[in-house]
Amino acid sequence: MKQKSQIASRKRRTTLTLPVDALGQAERIARARHVNLSVVVAEALASGLRIERAREHSAQVVRDYQEAFRGFNDEEMMILDGILPETRKR
């Protein structure tokens, strides 16, 4: 119960301007599920934020990988890939 009240205390009332179509869909979902509109909007927002976080994370992973392998020539890349070339004797 304590946890529930803590979650409740983290909510904040605000005023949003939302697209009519999206709001209409959210209202239909809320009626069908017998929950209030705030629940549906909060779920949709949480889901959208999850997707955005995943996008940011993935962009960071790709940037970091590029950084980890930037500026190496072909021979150095072979070494980084576990291939150890020796200079050929003339």
Partner: protein
Amino acid sequence: MIDPAWGPFLFDTSAESWLARTTQASAQEWFRRYAEQFPVHISAVTVMERTRGYALLWRRESGERRRRIESARTVYLRTLGQVWPVDAAVAMVAGEIMALLPQPPTPTKRSHKFMEARQERFSRWRCDTMIAATALVMRMPLVHNNAGDFEAIRSAIEIDPSRFPGLGPLDLVRCGALA
């Protein structure tokens, strides 16, 4: 084209760096979409090969170049996703593969300037068997950039599946086929 959602995939050492360095826009986009859904799965063997590579380059350089290599190494280690250990199951499967194919199926790497030592080729072959064994045990498709070696492992397992009960086939995806 391979849908990233079919993952997770295990990435071979050379596949991991291929994805990081590709200039092909579709492959870059594939990697970005994959990383949205899954961590980059690799074997601890890849971490070993890579770390040895960074360390060897670091040792032969000095000054700014050395700092740059150390920085790249740090970024690489920070970026690691899911690293699979060589545990008892992986070791057993790798041992079976090594017994099936005691010799590397492809020759040493060589160019007009460089040649891979025979001892090194054996060592790298053993690393490849451990990576393939990890993919088999974890039941993940293996993304690779080394068709010669991994196709040989796949064929050998198909010819003699009795030593790999409940495992296989080794599912392989070439880097070039991803996007």
